[in-house]
Symmetry: none
């Protein structure tokens, strides 16, 4: 029996409410001048007070030394083995813009790009506006190919999602995005020679891209498409079914909305600011038992390498913590999906600080929310897949195993 | 996908240098008079200063409660599951003395011993000199058997390695060393009845040992051979291939040189003292990206039960730490392969203290290098197989997993 089936076999009902608050890329590295990380530098009176009333620890999304993308990191926080349940980039793009994916459909992430004299000069077509993107996607909807239904939808700026529907398609095909400029777009090919379904799909993709090139020929700067991450929706059991919970996601960015949908969550309508997100959480309080609330900008500012701006983002979240506590969640976990130290300007492998607040959790002696403080916490350093069972337990949603 | 394939799939290149310094049997138990372990008793200003600038923890080579031999303990430190990738004693002996092993060859560890009136009176033949050993191995090279090429080479004192080459040999045969005195040497037998390849090999081994007995009949005290640990070289992917690194081993003892060769390391020429080893490290600095430097005597003095001598060994290593730091390694890890408490006079199951020094590692509040100090460290207690991914990550040699 796998770990999810085992957990599912222990499920029991309760009226409790669980909240998982993820500050994307929360963990950091010490600033050379102060020896303090972003989180340790931030003025966070509310999170510090919460840490004093919580059990704390550090959490690895995938494993020691492994730098996770946000997809696998969130899958782990939702209780899924992130290596076994790998989700392709195309699937995250398609679900993120609200497209439905059948079991046979193939999805890809698309960039509008600029091609001049046959070579790519800008992989993002000058980051065209989302409106321009929508107009171009509408033009591309005229493409008709025998044996293939192709639907393209705008994401933000130069990003789009492409879904291919037809008989006997295969996702085992290569990217056409060479991930650099100064070279032509690649031809789509089967990943393995002699894979006839993949050969046929690659040939359809190439015909689609030829048509797209013709349709976009007079456009500027977005006169071509680059595709990558062809994938089929993985067969993932919904956490909502497994554990008998209704789950709502309060997330503003497409990719996180996509991962949430993939595991069975419903999307809660929300405004853009974190205060808006917390109000959306409050508004949906009676509709769900498990809430995932995702804050993006700690990661964005970390990737920018902007230490101070990341500190300010953490402080913005801190100000809304009292409003979350007013809802009296039975379990409240605050953590990151991975670290994004401003000093690195990128995702990193360092475990994320975590606080676990519940009436039924032991409290430790951690008196502030930070990486080193959490390292002294009662929960130690643990893998993220263990978080969901801990949350279900403290929510009194798991019964005893064995006599 | 297994963990090594997974890690390998994430490899990326870098110009960084990693050093793993293993003090064999480093960990200990508190002296009853002082309450301090060997490491806690040693005056180690350099290691203490390094610990203050590092992340610290405790590392289990195989698992809680498991006392590892040096072979599996080192395999784990090099990133291999030590239970899955078990290496036979014979293979370590043969590789340790520089013999090559083909995929079909069978290797055994040999002791010269003393037999009187048909029974073993000394399993080590009075620890004959290495020179005497070499003379006897030369005599034994005269043995000729149909269908078997047998090569014997001296190790240190009474120890030797035997390699058998031929068609259809099997390693599934029993030891002839009964591991005690007062009994005759055992007859080699197949481990499982009816295993014809093993039956044939055992019969060849017995004929070889009969011949050896005749050739050594007039020698004293070494008038017979005991064989054990028949093994074939395991099919182990080289860490150098998996992770795209050149690796050099600075080790003086045959067995550690053998394990290093087995995982793809090259041997760096070195003098006998630890200061010599550090100079050898410095001399090879441009040739490798990963260095394994092995210090034997902490284990030897622990096995002797000599607490004070083990303390002195740790202090000897401490004096050379500044020279290692002058090389400015990007990652420097100092740890043991297992504990060898002088109070036990043997390997033990206690986790090894570890310090991890890198620009990209979080620093904790540990202010000295010792077992109890490391137990309060940021890295917690973790399995040794996780060390290599942590080192590769801090050396910026692993890319992100997933979108």
């Amino acid at each position: 029996m796998d770990r999810m089936e085992f957990l599912s076999s222990l499920r029991t009902s309760s009226d409790s409410r669980m909240v998982l608050l993820v500050l994307d890329g929360l963990g950091g590295l010490p600033h050379p001048d102060t020896g303090l990380t972003e989180l340790e530098s931030a003025r966070t009176p509310n999170l510090d007070a919460l840490a004093r009333e919580s059990a704390c620890g550090l959490v690895h999304a995938v494993g020691p030394g492994i730098t996770p993308g946000s997809g696998p990191a969130h899958m782990a926080l939702f209780g899924y083995d992130p290596v076994r349940h790998e989700v392709g980039r195309g699937v995250l793009s398609a679900l993120g813009v609200g497209m439905d994916l059948g079991p046979e459909d193939i999805a890809a992430r698309v960039n509008f790009c600029t091609v001049e004299n046959g070579v790519i000069t800008d992989r993002r077509a000058g980051r065209i506006s989302t409106e321009e993107n929508a107009r171009l996607c509408e033009k591309l909807s005229a493409i008709r190919l025998d044996g293939l239904e192709a639907v393209i939808r705008p994401e933000k700026e130069h990003r789009a999602a492409l879904v291919l529907r037809g008989q006997g398609l295969s996702e085992r095909i290569s990217d056409t995005d060479p991930q650099r400029t100064g070279v032509p777009p690649l031809t789509c090919r089967p990943l393995v020679d002699g894979d006839t379904a993949a050969e046929r799909t690659a040939s359809l993709v190439n015909r689609y891209l030829d048509e797209a090139s013709r349709i976009l020929a007079d456009e500027h700067p977005a006169n071509m498409l680059l595709t990558r991450g062809f994938a089929r929706k993985p067969d993932i059991p919904h956490m909502t079914d497994l554990y008998g919970i209704r789950a709502g996601a309060v997330a503003t960015y497409p990719m996180y909305r996509a991962v949430a949908r993939l595991v069975g969550m419903e999307l809660v309508e929300t405004g853009a600011s974190f205060a808006d997100q917390v109000e959306a959480l409050a508004g949906a309080w009676e509709d769900y038992e498990y809430f995932f609330i995702h804050y993006k900008y700690t990661d964005s500012r970390g990737e920018d390498g902007d230490f101070e701006a990341k500190v300010a983002c953490i402080e913005e979240v801190d100000r809304s913590i009292p409003r979350i506590l007013e809802l009296r969640p039975d379990v409240l976990v605050v953590t990151g999906d991975h670290s994004t130290p401003a000093l690195l300007g990128a995702h990193s492998w360092h475990p994320s600080p975590l606080l676990f607040h519940s009436r039924w959790e032991r409290k430790d002696e951690v008196d502030s929310f930070g990486e080193r403080a959490c390292a002294r916490g009662m929960l130690g350093t643990f893998p993220a897949v263990d978080l969901l069972p801990m949350m279900l337990a403290s929510a009194r949603r798991l019964t005893k195993f064995g006599a």
